[in-house]
């Protein structure tokens, strides 16, 4: 106990902190490393890259290639994020139980941070959803935590940068690599010859290089790519959110919930009721537009963020740190907004009109 206290005091009184040193080393690396190794802008593609060329499994009954499910790099990152979230929940739950069994009510370290985070979300839900808190809260906290972990994975080194090189389909296009024994690094981006036969910008360090005849070029496929830069993930999450909103509403109000969309009773009230009926149909359309806005908001923010990091990394590596801070903030806000909107829509669905 005393040792622990002493340790805390030395940390508080300033002095040497390993974390600060790490940040300083990383800032120094972002400034000096680009002088040694060229920083290339990765080829931005909207669909996720396949890690294996053969499909994992095929869903029967779908025409052509539509049933084939491939192992994509966003799927890998998604699985890692789900594993991290499960591990966090399991470990923190065990620590809290242990502390409760020993009658300790002061949590420390990561457990404390995580429990406070969950508590803030719980209080927010309680002030909005009232007696339906216990039904709505799990969706809120699960979505927020998963999206937060996935969004912040964008900032880890190795994401989007470690992958496999395959010979380029189009000779002269792709990347020229430098072999370093067991690994190879991308050295130049090649655009081959221009359409009319003349070389494009020759030899530019950050620009496109004219490749000499016969020099092998490669395509680069990263192993890891953030799951929220794949529209499939955000669409799936949006579908879960909107469908569960309907189920929570049906559970709370029963058949009356459908009156919000098909207000037949208003029709009996004459011409003004017709307007109410039309408003109900508009509500139905707005449920569908929620799917669109949920999925596009998260996808657009995080995809644009990763493109911003790519471009800034290639243009101006020294100021990349500022953009990392921005992305840290955007990732948090988007995770919070996704969960919070789900919670608010669910709370609205449980209320009578």
């Amino acid at each position: 106990m005393t040792a622990h206290k002493n340790h805390e005091q030395t940390q508080k009184s300033g002095g040497f902190r390993p974390g600060c040193l790490g940040v300083l080393v990383m800032i120094a690396l972002t400034i000096f490393l680009p002088r040694v190794v060229p920083v290339l802008q990765p080829h931005v593609a909207l669909p996720a890259d396949r890690i294996l060329d053969d499909p994992l499994f095929t869903i029967p009954g779908l025409p052509g290639d539509q049933g084939a499910v491939y192992l994509t790099n966003t799927l890998v990152t998604w699985a890692i994020a789900v594993f991290i979230v499960l591990l966090m929940g399991f470990l923190v739950g065990r620590r809290v139980k242990q502390a409760m069994a020993r009658d300790e009510y002061v949590l420390t370290g990561f457990t404390d941070v995580f429990v406070s985070f969950v508590e803030v979300l719980y209080n927010l839900t309680e002030s909005t959803a009232g007696k339906w808190t216990r039904v709505i809260f799990p969706y809120f906290v699960t979505i927020t935590t998963l999206v937060l972990v996935i969004n912040w994975m964008e900032l880890l080194p190795g994401i989007d940068t470690i992958g496999v090189l395959t010979p380029s389909h189009k000779p002269g296009y792709g990347y020229v690599v430098k072999d370093l024994g067991p690994v190879a690094i991308l050295w130049e981006e090649a655009e081959g010859k221009g359409e009319k036969g003349e070389a494009l910008v020759p030899g530019g360090r950050y620009g496109l290089a004219a490749v000499e005849e016969g020099e092998p070029t490669y395509e680069f496929r990263p192993f890891f790519r953030v799951a929220s830069t794949d529209l499939n993930f955000t669409l799936a999450l949006a579908l879960v959110s909107v469908i569960m909103t309907q189920i929570v509403g049906l559970r709370a109000l029963g058949a009356h919930y459908m009156e919000k969309f098909f207000n037949f009773r208003a029709l009996l009230r004459g011409p003004m009721g017709l307007l109410d009926f039309a408003v109900g149909l508009l509500e139905l359309i707005s449920e569908f537009s929620k799917i669109l806005s949920f999925s596009f908001r998260l996808f657009g923010n995080i995809f644009a963020g990763s493109v911003l990091l790519f471009v800034m990394g290639a243009l101006m590596p020294p100021i990349l740190f500022g953009f990392y801070g921005l992305e840290l903030f955007v990732g948090l806000i988007q995770a919070f907004v996704f969960g919070m909107l789900t919670m608010v829509f669910m709370a609205q669905a449980t209320q009578h009109h």
Partner: protein, 75 residues
């Protein structure tokens, strides 16, 4: 070459829609700050609602961004 140029011009034009979202977020934040100045106790609630409103306003700009990104990288 003309097709690429048209794509890039289209992407630029698509981002004009961000004007609306910018105006909306400005109005929202201005209103929220005025509200907090009048009633500092309500700062928490106002902030939460402001963030929600900003998320809605921003979604419109994000649609433009998605259209622009699709034009540049997908078409």
């Amino acid at each position: 070459m003309e097709a690429t140029a048209a794509k890039l011009i289209g992407a630029g034009l698509a981002m004009i829609g961000a004007i609306g979202a910018g105006l909306g977020i400005g109005v929202l934040a201005g209103g929220a700050v005025q509200g907090i100045a009048r009633n500092p106790d309500a700062a928490g609630t106002i902030q939460t609602n402001m963030i929600l409103g900003i998320a809605f306003a921003e979604a419109v700009a994000i649609y433009c961004l998605v259209v622009a990104l699709l034009l540049i990288f997908a078409v």
